[in-house]
């Protein structure tokens, strides 16, 4: 082998090194967990769905959800230590009833990886249902205070 051949070999190696894999966050990585609410009957304690429920964040122009459900997972605001939502039962009917609900929590970031960055996990402090004299939501119970996964419901909403 001569100098030329060696040089060429090294040159080829330089090109190989120049290929860097792009870091892409795969969706298989769990993202920031949502808060999972389960709607239950306040007399029997059994799962009871809410008819035509509309969920909208206060100060958010978009509706988050509209439909009939017995449980839902809602996203918490990552910028603040509280999120406020409007829960309207029988939306767009003459029996429409809107309740405002406030979630207070502390946020902690959890590092996932270079490509995914950080996710947020929460510690729920309390839930306040604003009293409007005709509340359809009667009570709420925090069952799992630490929201770091979406395996089961964190909060029970009695109605």
């Amino acid at each position: 082998m001569n100098f030329h051949l060696y040089s060429r070999l090294i040159l080829i190696l330089f090109f190989l090194v120049a290929c860097e894999p792009d870091d892409i966050c795969l969706e298989s990585n769990a993202d920031t967990p949502n808060l999972i609410l389960k709607f239950v009957d306040s007399f029997t304690g059994e799962t009871k769905s809410v008819d035509n429920l509309r969920i909208k964040g206060i100060n958010n122009n978009e509706d988050f959800f509209l439909g009939t459900v017995d449980s839902i997972s809602i996203p918490l605001n990552n910028y603040e230590d509280n999120s406020s939502f409007s829960f309207t039962k029988r939306f767009n009917t003459n029996q429409q009833n809107e309740d405002l609900i406030y979630f207070n929590y502390t946020r902690n970031n959890v590092y996932i990886s270079r490509s995914c960055g950080y996710k947020m996990v929460y510690e729920i402090d309390n839930i306040i249902i604003e009293n409007d004299n005709s509340n359809w939501i009667e009570d709420s119970i925090i069952e799992i205070r630490t929201v770091n996964d979406e395996i089961s419901h964190h909060v029970k909403i009695y109605h």
């Binding site: 100098f3 970031n109 960055g117």
Partner: protein, 235 residues
């Protein structure tokens, strides 16, 4: 990627130069190998110019000093020290890594020089250790819902006393460009041995090791050195 290409262009030009030089010198020095030419041994000091190039093209500051001592005809003992300060603007995280490193090892020149020439094509091995700190300035929360406004959250944190150890396998090239001055380049494959990363962050970059990719113990490096030899012994 673009920056990498700019750098490769430099290196390619450098190589072309070297190839020509090598070619010419070989032709010129094709006289029979009868005369025993005195070979210079000595200590060489140098600087890795690739760092200076990176300072122009990247959000980076650093310096790397190089020294080697020829102990046998083909064997050099090598030491390198350096300092890196690198900002990483990622899609998700803005962070900074700074610290110092030391590398020690040897180079083995396997190129048979025609008489009178002192070029090298070598294999090298280094053991390297780095001590550094990292900082996170802001980040984007990984949240697929995107129901609430989702911009970067400024939340400064600092992680001190981080460290890493690794080995480097090197293929390199040194050409004498004038009396006692050498120019060289080397290509390095780094293999992590261990690293100490903070609890809630990762080592995205390690001074001396360069970019750390996900789930991968390997890294790469390129140097572009200019060295000056202080002749000590003639053999």
């Amino acid at each position: 990627m673009m920056k990498f290409h700019t750098m490769s262009r430099y290196i390619i030009r450098f190589f072309i130069l070297i190839i020509f030089c090598g070619g010419f010198s070989q032709e010129n020095s094709s006289q029979p190998d009868t005369l025993k030419i005195k070979e210079k041994y000595g200590i060489r000091f140098g600087i890795d110019l690739s760092k200076q190039i990176r300072m122009i093209t990247e959000d980076y500051k650093g310096i790397s000093l190089y020294a080697d001592l020829r102990i046998k005809e083909r064997l050099f003992i090598v030491g390198e020290v350096g300092n890196d300060n690198k900002k990483i603007h990622n899609e998700n995280i803005d962070s900074n890594f700074k610290g110092s490193y030391v590398k020690a090892g040897f180079n083995y020149n396997f190129y048979n020089n025609p008489p009178g020439l002192e070029n090298e094509i070598y294999f090298g091995f280094r053991f390297a250790t780095s001590s550094f700190k990292s900082e996170v300035f802001d980040y984007l929360v990984y949240d697929l819902d995107k129901y609430w406004e989702n911009g970067r959250i400024e939340d400064y944190s600092e992680y001190n006393n981080l460290s890493a150890n690794w080995i480097e396998l090197i293929l390199g090239f040194n050409a004498k460009i004038s009396k006692n001055i050498f120019m060289g380049t080397s290509l390095r494959l780094n293999r992590m041995i261990n690293q100490k990363s903070p609890e809630n962050f990762g080592n995205l970059y390690i001074p001396g090791f360069n970019i750390v990719t996900e789930d991968n113990n390997f890294g790469t490096g390129i140097t572009y050195t200019l060295t000056y030899r202080i002749p000590i012994v003639k053999k």
